[in-house]
């Protein structure tokens, strides 16, 4: 990613590659301390973010990447105008941040190449945060509280050990660039399909065998990378099917025959159960299912170019797509799913 524009003259102070392990500002004039908006401390030997940093009262941009930072001092909180903090390639983890870090008005945070094993809770209060990178750390999960970062537009979490995606991620209203490549993700929650703001989704090098069919409704999506996933290649039908319970059969009958009922007619738990009915996605089938369904993987042409295995549920093994595949072919045709070419411009499959 490119650095925000470098300002001329007195507003930029570049103290990179000077073998510094402390920040002695005695030789820096008061005016310079006041005027400096961008400070570079890249490639030095800092173990702690120096407290003297707070003297740069108007600092907007700070880059302290490629040091040995294990701890960020409390004095950073006094940088009330700081918008961008870059601290790549250091030794920071979730215990390195001052307690009230979440009160800062940061917009861009780049902590890639550090040692975070958990998402630092202090990040979750940064209401103004637009861009967050924690690439190349040791994260195992994404907290559900991620939805608190309501201003987030860019989230880079590539190169971690993340195994699943919380559905709450879909609640971020402005997220346009989501990078989850090089992780251990096995499935994508269908709720991600609600993210109308998403323009680019990077999922390459994970453990995906299929995608939820809802992903077809991501009309704004321009980029989708899926290479390096063990995507199912041939038509697969999951033949393990637990027969429906009596409760489910009764529920299906009520729903598919539109039998009228009022809240007074049934106990509350049955009313709630009936509300859970899912419609069978086969357009020729009027059936519904509750818990008992067949997991079925269909192949869909994305903009007529590639075939992707998309998963959906059918009410029973007998319920199949109207155009049944001949066993020789490796795909079913999907009549309701033709996505116009201009909607998905590039699917980097392989």
């Amino acid at each position: 990613m490119d650095v925000s524009e470098v300002l001329e003259g007195e507003k930029v102070l570049n103290l990179s590659r000077l073998n510094l392990d402390n920040l002695d500002l005695d030789h820096v004039g008061e005016e310079r301390k006041r005027d400096t908006q961008q400070l570079f401390l890249v490639y030095n030997r800092f173990i702690v973010l120096p407290g003297s940093i707070c003297h740069f009262s108007n600092l907007v941009f700070l880059d302290i990447s490629c040091n040995r930072l294990a701890f960020i001092c409390e004095e950073i909180l006094r940088l009330s105008k700081l918008k961008t903090l870059v601290a790549k390639n250091n030794r920071l983890n979730e215990f390195s941040l001052p307690k009230d870090f979440g009160t800062m008005s940061l917009e861009v945070l780049n902590f890639s190449g550090n040692r975070f094993e958990e998402f630092p809770s202090e990040f979750l209060n940064l209401q103004r945060l637009q861009s967050l990178s924690l690439g190349g750390n040791r994260l195992k999960s994404i907290p559900t509280e991620i939805e608190q970062l309501t201003s987030l537009e860019l989230l880079y979490l590539g190169g971690n050990s993340i195994t699943s995606i919380p559905t709450e991620l879909a609640n971020l209203p402005y997220l346009s660039y989501l990078v989850l490549c090089d992780n251990r993700i096995q499935s994508i929650p269908p709720q991600l399909a609600q993210m109308n703001s998403l323009l680019s989704l990077s999922l390459h090098n994970n453990l995906l065998t299929y995608l939820p069919r809802e992903i077809l409704s991501l009309f704004q999506l321009q980029e989708l990378s899926l290479r390096g996933n063990p995507l199912v290649v041939r038509f697969v039908k999951d033949m393990t099917y637990d027969p429906p319970s009596l409760l489910e059969l009764a529920g299906r009958t009520v729903k598919s025959r539109n039998l009228p009922y009022k809240p007074e007619d049934l106990p509350g738990n049955l009313i709630r159960y009936l509300d859970l009915a899912s419609k069978c996605p086969n357009p020729k089938c009027g059936g519904v299912y509750f818990d008992s369904c067949v997991r079925h993987i269909k192949f869909v042409d994305f903009c007529g170019k590639y075939r992707l295995p998309l998963m959906h549920y059918l009410c029973s093994p007998e319920c199949s797509s109207p155009c049944s595949s001949n066993p020789q072919s490796d795909a079913d045709s999907e009549d309701e799913s033709s996505v116009p070419a201009h909607r998905m411009q590039k699917v980097l499959l392989g």
Binding site: M1, G135, G136, L154, G158, G350
Partner: protein, 208 residues
């Protein structure tokens, strides 16, 4: 084939001058061009104006049109950005790292008699200032910035120049022809939109 005696190009402009000289003849000595490009030591201040990055994907930024004999361009790869597997429309292709590292994975041309995925030949990570060469007779490749912390910048020379190529699905060998565009030309941003029937189609298929 004749090998011209050349001094090591000190600046990017020197390199471009020598390339013009070399390509004024009709034959290309691949080794000579590769050595020449490798010998230029990258200085960011000389190419910074062409290094325009995009958030979502890598960009192609035209530097010089080589008197019609070649195209010289700078590609900018954000963290995690990569290309599809692609061919080079029978042209010579040189790729030199100006900053960061790029992983190049070579593939055999797909063989439709063999069912299944495309065959990977080899992979390597190119270091700063190294220059790689590829041609359709060697095979196909995918280029990626696999770093999650560092962007990468590469200098590419294509001769003759071409504006379309094929991309390949690794799982099936299925190919697709794509048109290539420039993010910027001579340092100026050049968004490219055209009308296709009733729809405005933004052609942003930046394939190498």
């Amino acid at each position: 084939m004749e090998q011209t005696e050349v001094m090591k190009p000190e600046t990017l402009n020197d390199l471009i001058k020598v390339l013009h000289q070399i390509f004024s003849s009709d034959t290309v000595n691949v080794e000579e061009v590769q050595n020449l490009m490798e010998s230029y030591e990258s200085k960011p201040e000389e190419w910074m104006e062409y290094a325009q990055f995009d958030k979502f994907r890598y960009t192609r930024n035209l530097v010089d049109e080589g008197n019609g004999k070649f195209n010289l361009m700078i590609l900018c790869w954000g963290e995690g950005h990569g290309s599809s597997i692609h061919d080079h429309t029978d042209s010579h292709c040189f790729m030199k790292l100006l900053q960061g590292q790029l992983k190049e994975t070579l593939f055999e041309w797909p063989d439709h008699k063999i069912n299944g995925g495309m065959t990977k030949k080899s992979e390597r990570v190119l270091q700063e200032n190294q220059c790689a060469y590829i041609h359709d007779s060697i095979g196909l490749h995918r280029v990626e910035n696999v770093s999650h912390t560092e962007p990468a910048v590469s200098l590419h020379l294509y001769s003759p120049q071409f504006d379309q190529c094929n991309t390949f699905d690794q799982r099936t060998g299925h190919r697709n022809t794509v048109k290539m565009t420039f993010w910027s030309k001579y340092g100026e941003r050049t968004p490219f939109t055209y009308y296709c029937g009733k729809h405005i189609v933004k052609v942003a298929l930046c394939v190498q």
